[in-house]
Amino acid sequence: MGKPSDLVQGTLDLLILKTLSTEAKHGWAIAKRIQQLSGEVLQVQQGSLYPALHRLEQQGWIKAKWAESETGRQAKFYSLTAAGRGQLERETESWKRLSGAINLIVQEG
């Protein structure tokens, strides 16, 4: 199982931003979504998730709002900002370039 601690910090940011691009979610939902979409390969540990969320919030890519969750409890929902969308595009681009390059080398021979 690819432990998220193997993930480069920027990659987790990319995943979070992507997950939030469709709709606002709280932390638990983000982790679950990443797990789902990756086919249970990537399990984000809370120890990495929340620091990453707060970092992204501080940098202004996402914004947070307290709202009522599906269980009825108050939860902190994160959503993408306009600047965040731009950052998502940029990061997707660079990931594509990077992974493309690595693929080329790995597939060589």
């Binding site: 809370q46 501080q58 307290w66």
Partner: protein, 892 residues
């Protein structure tokens, strides 16, 4: 905006957003913390719900969720780490913890703060002095272009005052200065008025261009104009701020009013600002130079009565200006080769240097001493911290075992040092403020005393000191924390070797350094003390006990003839002599012994062959009444004192001092020979013992003439001797003077002891300060030694117990222990003596008849230190000798 700028703009906005977030985090830390807790709790809830949905029981679901979740506390910390003010938070938290820890041991904290406060405070106080007096530029326009000009008259007198004649030539011919100005010293009797008594004030005479040269304007009114600065003008005067406030009530209407100086009217044209104190802060008013001084004196080439200053032209160096002035002076000298008093060349010094040059060495010496005191204080506090850390080593070990990083522990120690230093700094600042006040009161005549007050540079210096001592102390004490042998620290007993070996060594090293510095300070203090004692006990050549002196100045306006003046003096003397209890009274002009050089004159011995051209002879010139020698107890070695028949305008007799006879008439009998001074010839009728004009200077040759017979003798110092307390005659004599002339003030009323005291005030001051520093260092070193020794005894209790139980002699064991403790002190003594030999040479200029390597002082210091060390060891030794081996072993 193009793409690049847009990018930059966005970046800035993001950066600002980040800062805003951080600030919000900082101030809403509490709320943000709770919010984070809520968020994490919510997350766990959902995880538990999922687990239960997957089939686990309630308890299992919970445990699984928590296990997967990890340590919420650590998580919280990690999340908080991203809030980038966490560093600040850490510092604050460390500070809080540090403060609490220190408060738990208030005794230790108090001592450490006091010690650091003493070190930091004394440094701040002295640096204020150094900064204000030596480093701060003069409060004039472009002060580094201002220079003091001197004439070089003889090899011995190269920094002589200026003569009016040569100065005029400088003014006419020199191209190196934008302004050249001449001024002089003066004193006036300020007449009674407005309910105030008559008063003698110190003053100065300025040319009309003196204030413009300095670049200063009066605060009220105006400067002298060129018309005011003429002998034929009406008298004008500028007051000092202090005099204006004190004597004239600070009333602006004083301008254009007339006051009487020496019974002559002067119109007040201006008042100087409060900060202005040129040439020194004792000058209370200024009058025009060319109005006051007689024209023939101002034109003379050989009367060095005045002071010349100048402002260098931009681009001209001091060396160039000096060379030019020297050339001009040389030309004049060569035209007057027959007059040996005409100067040969000129010298130049920056104005600031000329005013404070003689206090530079003492101030820097004192500053170095305070630096030593601070170092000693830091060593001491570091020692205390090491001792304390030894006590807490188990706590530290446990924390290290539980995962606390070493950096964290080190940070805490540094924080403690910082807290102590800051508290010490605050205390030190208070101490410094008090010390500065006291120092100023003890030395009111210090150069630039009016400029002494703390400013920005002092503040920065204080801050720097606090940080430096914090880092220094913290670093020193953390040296001992480095061993990291956790397991051993945790074990209760360690019989294989004494615990804290490394710590003991560190403490010993610190102690050695402390003792070494203390020895250096003690040696310096001892030398200054010896020098001062020699100074104080120097024989002036006259009686100094129970002799009162005071000065009078008869204003020319009311005492116009020599006969009037002589009459006043004679009549005053008769009345003073008739006071009950007065043994003797007399006059001398211009200075009593020990009160300064006075002035000298050129002369010729009539019976000697004429001197080669350009060579001159000078002797101090004093005017006395015949009763002077017996009043002052000056022995008349040969011949007699002056006759009573010396009348005004017909002086015929002179008396010489021993040095005069030895220097100018070796091998012959002076009696009966004749001295030519000016237009008159005098017969030498007596030879008297030497008197010193200053305690620390060798005797100069003196020529005595009759006061009555002198011309224009309007001043004199009255000296009175009595058998009992002579100070009680001050008031009666003043009353007599008042009766004889209501508007005549009496000034400088001092006993001879006080005269010597003010002469030696500087040396006394320096010695006192250094003794205080040395004594405090000795105390600190003694306490340090006591601490280290007690520590060693406590550490090695079990060892001692074992040794004694195994049969060693008690005295031997204790002795061995004590020697181990005293060794660093002995080492420190040797190091200190070595350092002192190198360093005390720098003191030589401050010492009077004392060698920098005085064996008596060095010996006394060594003995003192050994005695103090021995004393500090008594208690620990006693405790060690009373050790019951069984108890000691059981203590483990």
């Amino acid at each position: 905006m193009d793409g690049f700028e847009e990018e930059r703009c966005k970046k800035t906005m993001r950066w600002l957003h980040q800062i805003w977030m951080s600030l919000t985090m900082l101030f809403r830390r509490g709320r943000a913390g709770t919010a984070l807790d809520d968020e994490l709790a919510f997350h766990i809830e959902l995880q538990i719900a999922e687990n239960r949905a997957a089939g686990m029981s309630g308890q299992e679901a919970r445990e699984a969720a928590l296990r997967a979740f990890g340590n919420p506390a650590a998580l919280r910390d990690q999340a908080r780490e991203t809030w980038s003010w966490s560093r600040m938070e850490l510092v604050l938290r460390d500070a809080r913890i540090g403060a609490r820890t220190l408060l738990r041991t208030p005794g230790f904290a108090t001592i450490a703060i006091l010690v650091l406060g003493l070190g930091i405070g004394s440094n701040i106080a002295l640096f204020t002095f150094v900064r204000s007096v030596l480093l701060k530029p003069l409060p004039f326009r472009d002060p580094d272009r201002l220079a003091r000009l001197y004439e070089s008259t003889t090899d011995k007198n190269q920094y002589n005052q200026s003569s009016g004649g040569i100065f005029s030539e400088w003014q006419k011919q020199s191209r190196s200065f934008t302004d050249l100005s001449l001024w002089g010293y003066a004193g006036y009797n300020l007449s009674a008025g407005g309910g105030q008594l008559p008063e003698n004030v110190r003053a100065a005479t300025f040319s009309s261009n003196t204030l413009p040269t300095l670049g200063v304007e009066p605060a009220l009114g105006r400067n002298f104009t060129a018309e005011d600065d003429q002998p034929s003008a009406n008298g004008t005067v500028i007051l000092s701020w202090g005099l204006w406030k004190r004597r004239f009530g600070g009333d602006p209407a004083i301008l254009n009013r007339t006051i009487l100086l020496d019974a002559r009217p002067y119109t007040v044209v201006g008042v100087m600002p409060a900060w202005f104190a040129f040439p020194d802060q004792t000058r209370q008013l200024w009058t025009p130079l060319h109005y006051k001084e007689p024209t023939e004196v101002l034109d003379a080439l050989d009367e060095h009565d005045f002071v010349a200053i100048g402002r260098l032209k931009p681009g001209v160096t001091a060396a160039q200006a000096e060379a030019e002035l020297s050339l001009i002076t040389k030309r004049i000298h060569d035209q007057h080769l027959d007059n040996a008093s005409v100067s040969k060349t000129a010298n130049l010094r920056p104005l600031l240097d000329s005013m404070v040059g003689n206090v530079k060495t003492p101030l820097y010496v004192l500053l170095a001493a305070t630096g030593c005191v601070l170092l000693i204080a830091c060593f001491n506090v570091a020692n205390l911290l090491v001792a304390r850390s030894a006590v807490r080593r188990r706590e530290m070990a446990i924390r290290a075992a539980l995962g606390g990083s070493r950096m964290r522990l080190l940070r805490e120690q540094l924080m403690e040092s910082l807290l102590l230093s800051t508290a010490g700094g605050v205390f030190g600042i208070a101490l410094a403020a008090a010390a500065i006040q006291w120092l100023l009161r003890a030395q009111p005549e210090m150069a630039r005393a009016e400029a002494i007050h703390p400013d920005m540079m002092v503040g920065v210096f204080a801050l720097g000191l606090v940080l430096l001592s914090a880092v220094f102390t913290g670093a020193l004490s953390s040296l001992s924390a480095g061993s990291g042998k956790i397991l051993e620290s945790l074990q209760d007993s360690s019989r294989s070797h004494s615990a804290g070996h490394g710590r003991t060594r560190l403490r010993k090293v610190l102690l050695t350094l402390e003792v070494g510095l203390t020895v250096v300070l003690l040696t310096g203090a001892g030398l200054l003390l010896k020098s001062y004692a020699r100074l104080r006990s120097a024989d002036l050549g006259c009686v100094t006990q129970n002799v009162l002196t005071m000065s009078l100045n008869l204003p020319e306006a009311r005492y116009t003839t020599d006969a009037q003046r002589a009459g006043f003096f004679d009549s005053l003397l008769t009345r003073v002599r008739s006071l009950p209890g007065v043994q003797a009274a007399g006059y001398v002009f211009p200075t009593v012994p020990g009160a300064g050089y006075g002035g000298d004159s050129g002369f010729r011995i009539a019976e000697h062959p004429p001197l080669p051209q350009g060579k001159g002879q000078w002797a101090r010139t004093l005017f006395i009444d015949p009763g002077y020698f017996s009043t002052m107890g000056i022995p008349v070695m040969r011949g007699r004192t002056l006759g009573e028949d010396q009348r005004p305008g017909h002086p015929t007799e002179a008396i010489v001092s021993e040095t005069f006879a030895r220097q100018y008439m070796p091998g012959e009998d002076p009696l009966g020979k004749h001295v030519r001074k000016g237009p008159h010839t005098y017969e030498i009728v007596g030879v008297t013992g030497d008197t010193l004009f200053e305690v620390s200077e060798p005797a100069a040759p003196i020529l005595y003439f009759a006061l009555d017979a002198g011309e224009d003798m309007n001043g004199a110092s009255l000296v009175i001797r009595s058998g009992r307390d002579v100070a009680q005659y001050a008031l009666p004599v003043q009353k007599i003077v008042q009766q004889m002339d209501r508007d005549l003030p009496v000034s400088d009323i001092l006993t001879m002891d006080e005269v010597i005291g003010s002469n030696t005030a500087d040396a006394s001051f320096d010695a006192t300060l250094l003794v205080i520093f040395a004594a405090s260092s000795l105390l600190l070193a003694a306490v340090g030694l006591f601490g280290v020794l007690s520590y060693i005894v406590a550490q090695r209790t079990s060892e001692i117990g074992i040794r004694i139980a195994l049969g060693a002699q008690r005295e031997q064991v204790v002795g061995h222990l004590l020697f181990d403790g005293i060794r660093p002190a002995l080492l420190g003594l040797i190091l200190g003596l070595g350092a002192a030999t190198a360093v005390t040479r720098l003191l030589q200029s401050m010492l009077y008849r004392t060698e920098a390597l005085d064996p008596l002082v060095f010996g006394t210091v060594s003995l003192t230190l050994l005695a103090v060390a021995a004393f500090a060891c008594i208690l620990p030794a006693w405790r060690a000798s009373r050790l019951d081996p069984a108890q000691a072993l059981r203590r483990e």
